[in-house]
């Protein structure tokens, strides 16, 4: 699965994609393409810093919660933020919180294809309609986070991090003929490449910090040094084994050497950052037993990844569509999905609101964490934008309109908080996303089904 993850450079994923060549005869150009891509890239990468003016670091995270909210509790009129029971835990971050109301996810609207849940999750961060299939021919659209990831991935060790809490090992048909791919992630590298999400903190740690098992700079530094010296020895060695090899063979070894250099560059980056103050974290054993511990551990890891500038982009599914998780620890013993079909029964709506509040509280934890982490002259949160929301509003009806959405942005983005903005009906969610993309200086004219920008947020 890691094959399709975006990592340091975009071509790398491409080079490793599984080209299953089913024809018996291999087109020559397939081979050449493989060589070309890997040979050319390190050069290109190395050239970029020389030309690009330094830009302030900006970070982005998108958090998805499934199956809407208790809308009677959530909705509020335009004006200053009102602390309803769902959002109350964010009181102390009020000045950074913006609640847009009235945004629609047209991509999630049924075209007679059933599958309300996968469609809602798929459309949320892509503004696109999921192609109904349970085969390999899935198609959606590039997700917002990946547009930002493409901009930053050359500067960081990892393009983007994809997190989830539930197992994503479902394959095939997840709901009414929709592939599980739509239900397993919200991050789409391309219209046909969903990025797998990781729910095991242990694996997240390994992806971020390698095999050393800890962030302890002494241990990690030793590991990095060892890795570097191994690669160094390999480089020397390639020179000696080249003797007697043909030109094609040498080309292949050059390919290997280029890979060595690329990894060395990443190790160098990691070593450069070793003097940063980092809490020492050992590699987690596995998945913590409770929801809250699990979320917090994932956020802790993500905060570390921001702090070390390993990546600047993440997506995180706190609850996926059709999730059946129950939350007895907060007095919601019901399974999430059936509870979301509340039939407007007040007791159920109340329990759903409780659940919504519990989820949103986790966002507060992450903001706290980022604010408490120093970065340059300010905190990590100053340079971070977080988008939190669901792909439907009233889940009893699977309604993909008027999506409950929260934007939390640090001061670096110039977005005025403590506001509820109500937009006219049928304003695409993608308009918000396009407007937010502008804040990252990515050059995008249209995103998903966007038809414009949100005036009150545009500009700085």
């Amino acid at each position: 699965m890691t094959l399709q993850r975006s990592q340091g450079n975009p071509e790398q994923g491409r080079g490793m994609t599984l080209h299953m060549i089913t024809k018996r005869h291999l087109p020559r150009r397939t081979v050449l393409r493989g060589f070309g891509a890997t040979l050319a890239l390190p050069l290109l990468d190395a050239m970029v810093p020389a030309f690009a003016a330094p830009e302030p670091v900006k970070r982005f995270g998108a958090m998805y919660v499934a199956m809407g909210m208790s809308m009677p509790t959530w909705l509020q009129p335009e004006g200053p933020l009102q602390m309803n029971p769902i959002i109350a835990s964010l009181e102390k971050h009020r000045e950074h919180i913006l609640v847009p109301v009235g945004l629609d996810s047209e991509g999630a609207v049924s075209v007679g294809d059933n599958g309300n849940h996968p469609r809602a999750q798929a459309a949320w961060l892509t503004g696109s309609h999921a192609k109904k299939t349970d085969g390999p021919d899935i198609r959606l659209g590039v997700s917002m986070d990946q547009i930002i990831a493409r901009k930053y991935e050359k500067d960081t060790q990892i393009g983007s991090v994809e997190l989830t809490l539930e197992a994503t090992d479902m394959v095939g048909n997840c709901a009414y003929g929709f592939s599980c791919a739509y239900n397993n992630t919200v991050a789409w590298r391309t219209a046909t490449t969903p990025l797998p999400m990781e729910n095991n903190p242990r694996n997240v740690f390994e992806r971020l910090f390698g095999a050393s098992g800890t962030t302890d700079p002494k241990v990690r530094g030793r590991q990095l040094k060892l890795d570097a010296s191994i690669l160094d020895a390999v480089t020397t060695q390639v020179g000696t084994v080249k003797k007697g090899l043909g030109s094609r063979d040498v080309l292949k070894l050059t390919e290997y050497l280029d890979a060595v250099r690329d990894v060395e560059r990443r190790i160098q980056k990691a070593e450069d950052q070793m003097d940063r103050e980092l809490p020492v974290v050992a590699q987690p054993v596995g998945i913590p037993p409770t929801f809250e511990e699990h979320v917090k551990l994932m956020f802790d890891l993500q905060a570390l990844a921001f702090q070390t500038d390993l990546t600047r982009v993440f997506t995180f599914v706190l609850a996926r569509e059709s999730s059946t998780r129950s939350y007895p620890e907060i007095g919601v013993p019901d399974s999430h999905h059936p509870l979301s079909h509340h039939q407007n029964i007040p007791e159920k709506l109340a329990r759903l609101a409780k659940l919504n509040a519990f989820h949103l509280k986790q966002l507060g934890y992450f903001i706290d964490k980022l604010k408490a982490t120093q970065d340059g002259n300010g905190s990590l949160f100053d340079t971070t934008m977080l988008l939190y929301g669901s792909g439907m509003s009233d889940s009893n009806m699977h309604l993909p309109r008027n999506l409950p959405t929260v934007v939390a942005a640090g001061k670096g983005f110039g977005i005025k908080g403590d506001r509820v903005l109500v937009f006219p009906d049928r304003t695409p969610m993608a308009n918000l996303q396009l407007t937010l993309l502008d804040k990252f200086g990515v050059d995008v004219e249209k995103f998903g089904d966007s038809d414009g920008r949100l005036k009150p947020l545009a500009g700085v």
Binding site: N9, Q223, D227, I230, V234, L245, A259, V263
Partner: protein, 817 residues
């Protein structure tokens, strides 16, 4: 003088000539390559030009240029320069594909005689300057890496979890040309090297982790004993081999299968008490009671019905002690007394709501049993360095008794490892490099840390990860030379074992005796007999025959409600056991198509309508009715060549042309609409025939479709049928050369009239796999030589493998020009 004799004489002479140029052919090898006896006189030579002028140039003329090929006035004398074209002609004719139907065609004898003449001339032309090819350096693919670690360190790793899948070319994933390296892959190698070296040494600072094993798919029924490693009288579950890196505590947790739709994600069969038996190396660790009254969900309130608090399997995690090394962890369910003998007799339809949403067991027919979905093993907790483990035994060939001993012992350990990893004797400089890394590790840790550090270095070594073959000094540009014995040893072991040579093979290579024919043959036979050669059987056939696709085949449950995961696994197992028996018993290669036996368990036998097979274990069954004889009667082949919802005569026909006859039809021209299933009336056959009235389609489909129709008696999941819907199946047809058939049995006989094409296709595929490179036209003389040599030994598998190992492309290499 008989024509065949001339060729062989010439070959010998040329061989010596070559040896004069580039050394290296020993006379003993030549003796091995010279056939011991000369086959019966071939048909009289046919003048090639006259034949071509009569039968080919009408279409392949300067003016018509059919298929871009001009044969008019082609200079037969310049065959060496034109070998690529002439080889293609020979291949087409072997398959009987040319001249096309409706064109003038010679009788069978003249046809065969022409092929013989053509190939004889080609062999003769090639003999003057045989090109053994030049395989590029070869990165170990994931399977080879995994096996190499097993053989190097006595360590079983989960390669699929550590490394990404490899690209494939020419139908195989061990093709040097496409095995590339990217930064992402290199990072994975570094990470894998770190992990593996820790596991092998037993690093006590290892952080605990967990490994999840998928026991079964949602449609897997677990009615019967699933493995010989599980207790008698049990049902379901699995026995899993797991590597425990340290002596210490480990945790185990089983996850039960939930009902399918997310809305009712509940444990199946929870209302009946089950006993889950968890074992380590067959010894019971714990018997967990689960389900029944205490765990039974309340069905009244919706909230409770859905609630996931009923997850007693979550709570059943426990710890146990294990020593370092590979152990078998077994998990199985108890089998109720009322559970009727027989597999799957109670299964619900996979499309029924009851199956998808239901959670109850009930009793009798139509119940849903509790099944095991996953097994998670965690640890090590409180681990200690093992005093003894298979890996430590393999690695630590000495133990330093004092500090002064350490470097000497490390040097010994690392020399031994490097020799096996590099597949050849090591130089002092190489060992010194590794000892440097040992010292780096030793400085910050123990002796073990030192070895572990050097091992991590060794595992990303270019000489380990790549198979490098260097041209010997002084060899002339473009000259062919015999590869060194050490390179040959690697070629052989990667061919037969997909792994590094073992000590014995390395020893005979290093002492220079591997090139002796008797030694070579003894080694090949020894390695074939070794269990490690199973990888050749599984890996080669599953790629050649597309059997890998069986894992992802998804027959439409609405049309094939009996197809479940048990059947999928049974299909795979049947074909695997069949192929293994064919090769292990050293049967003639054509028996793949004709063997009158197969391997069945009850589930599969019932699917095929074969009586008197009871129980879940597979056993050899003789076929009384030959319609199912050979591979073409097996469910795996019939399913992977079908669509999800119906058979496809085109896919099956194309599969036969491509994989058995070696003449893949060209892709359809652009803008041809697919066959519309919905509009045209009549049987599939009538529709296909209508479609073939279009001359554009007919060129190819007149060859493809009849092959597919021959198998129409088998539906898309391999069940026999006389009717397709309401239409009687008409499996009759003709090969291009007019050989008729009227069903699977006579079709098989008809195919065997093209036995040479089949043998040649098999040879080319096995050579492709064995060499890790595509077979080119200049390899065809070697292919024919392999075919001749195997024929002399009754076309047995060992003979074919041996002939490939002895062939020029395998033994030799062309220097860079």
């Amino acid at each position: 003088m008989p024509y065949g004799f001339i060729t062989r004489r010439r070959r010998v002479v040329v061989g010596v000539g070559l040896a004069g140029v580039a050394l290296i052919l020993s006379t003993s090898l030549l003796a091995a390559q010279s056939p011991a006896r000369i086959p019966a006189a071939p048909p009289a030579a046919v003048p090639i030009k006259a034949f071509v002028d009569t039968y080919c140039v009408t279409c392949h003329s300067q003016r018509m240029k059919t298929a871009g090929l001009v044969l008019e006035n082609r200079d037969v004398a310049a065959m060496a320069q034109d070998a690529e074209v002439w080889e293609k002609i020979a291949t087409k004719m072997h398959a009987g594909a040319m001249p096309p139907p409706g064109s003038k065609r010679p009788d069978g004898t003249a046809y065969q005689a022409f092929i013989s003449s053509l190939e004889g001339a080609l062999d003769k032309a090639a003999a003057a300057d045989a090109n053994p090819g030049r395989p590029p350096i070869h990165r170990l693919n994931r399977l080879e890496y995994t096996n190499a670690i097993r053989d190097l360190l006595a360590l079983e790793i989960d390669g699929k979890a550590m490394l990404p899948a490899d690209d494939s070319g020419y139908g195989f994933d061990n093709i040097a040309d496409v095995l590339s390296v990217s930064p992402g892959l290199l990072e994975r190698y570094l990470l894998a090297a770190n992990k593996i070296s820790r596991m092998a040494v037993g690093d006590p600072s290892m952080v605990p982790g967990s490994t999840v094993y998928d026991v079964s798919d949602r449609t897997m029924g677990q009615d019967d004993r699933m493995s010989e490693e599980l207790p008698f009288g049990s049902r379901g579950g699995a026995a899993i081999r797991h590597y425990f890196p340290l002596d210490g505590e480990y945790s185990v947790k089983f996850t039960l299968q939930r009902s399918d739709l997310a809305a009712t994600y509940m444990i199946r069969g929870l209302d009946v008490e089950n006993l889950v038996d968890v074992r380590l190396d067959r010894q019971r660790l714990k018997l967990v009671k689960i389900g029944g009254a205490g765990d039974k969900p309340t069905f009244g309130a919706v909230a409770n019905y859905y609630a996931e608090e009923f997850a007693p399997d979550d709570k059943a995690e426990f710890r146990f002690h294990a020593t370092a090394g590979t152990h078998t962890v077994g998990v199985a369910l108890n089998r109720d007394h009322w559970n009727m003998e027989g597999v799957g007799v109670h299964r619900l339809s996979l499309t029924s709501d009851a199956f998808n949403q239901g959670v109850t067991s009930g009793t009798g027919s139509g119940r849903i049993d509790m099944t095991i979905r996953k097994l998670t093993i965690g640890g090590p907790f409180n681990g200690t360095v093992p005093k003894d483990s298979p890996s430590r035994r393999r690695v630590f060939v000495c133990t330093p008794v004092s500090a002064a001993d350490e470097t000497a012992c490390a040097t010994r350990i690392l020399s031994g490892l490097a020799r096996r990893a590099y597949r050849r004797p090591v130089t002092a400089a190489e060992v010194k490099d590794l000892v440097t890394f040992y010292q780096k590790g030793r400085e910050g840790g123990t002796f073990d840390t030192g070895i572990q550090t050097a091992m991590a270095r060794l595992l990303v070594d270019v000489k380990f990860l790549f198979r490098l073959e260097a041209d010997p000094a002084g060899v002339a540009k473009g000259a062919s030379y015999r590869v060194s014995d050490l390179d040959l040893a690697s070629r052989i072991s990667f061919f037969l074992w997909s792994s590094i040579p073992d000590d014995e093979l390395l020893r005979v290579a290093a002492n220079g005796t591997l090139r002796q024919p008797a030694v070579l043959e003894r080694q090949v036979r020894r390695m074939l007999a070794d269990g490690r050669s199973s990888v050749l059987i599984n890996n080669f056939f599953e790629q050649w025959l597309y059997l890998r696709n069986m894992a992802s085949a998804r027959p439409d449950p609405a049309r094939f409600p009996t197809f479940d995961d048990n059947l999928r696994v049974a299909f795979q197992e049947e074909t695997r056991l069949f192929l293994e028996s064919q090769v292990r018993e050293d049967r003639p290669v054509t028996e793949l198509l004709t063997a009158n036996y197969t391997f069945l368990n009850e589930r599969l036998a019932r699917h095929y309508g074969i009586p008197n097979v009871a129980g879940s274990h597979f056993r050899r069954v003789s076929l009384t009715d030959d319609k199912r004889a050979g591979l073409l009667g097996q469910g795996a082949i019939l399913t992977v060549t079908s669509y999800n919802d119906r058979t496809s005569v085109v896919q099956r026909g194309k599969w036969i042309m491509d994989h058995l006859l070696g003449v893949p039809p060209p892709p359809p021209p652009p803008n041809v609409p697919p066959l519309d299933d919905t509009k045209i009336e009549g049987s599939l056959r009538q529709r296909m025939e209508l479609h073939r009235k279009n001359p554009v389609c007919a060129t190819c489909h007149s060859q493809i479709d009849p092959l597919g129709f021959a198998l129409e008696n088998f539906d898309a999941v391999g069940q026999f049928r006389a009717l397709d819907g309401v239409t009687p199946v008409d499996p009759s047809g003709k090969l291009v050369d007019g050989t008729g058939f009227d069903g699977p049995s006579s079709f098989r006989k008809a195919l065997l009239t093209r036995g040479e094409a089949y043998r040649s296709t098999l040879t080319r595929n096995l050579l492709t796999y064995g060499m890790g490179r595509g077979v080119e036209y200049y390899d065809m003389p070697a292919v024919r030589q392999v075919m001749r040599e195997s024929k002399m030994s009754g076309d047995r598998w060992s003979a074919m493998v041996l002939a490939i190992v002895k062939s020029k492309p395998f033994q030799m290499r062309r220097a860079e020009s």
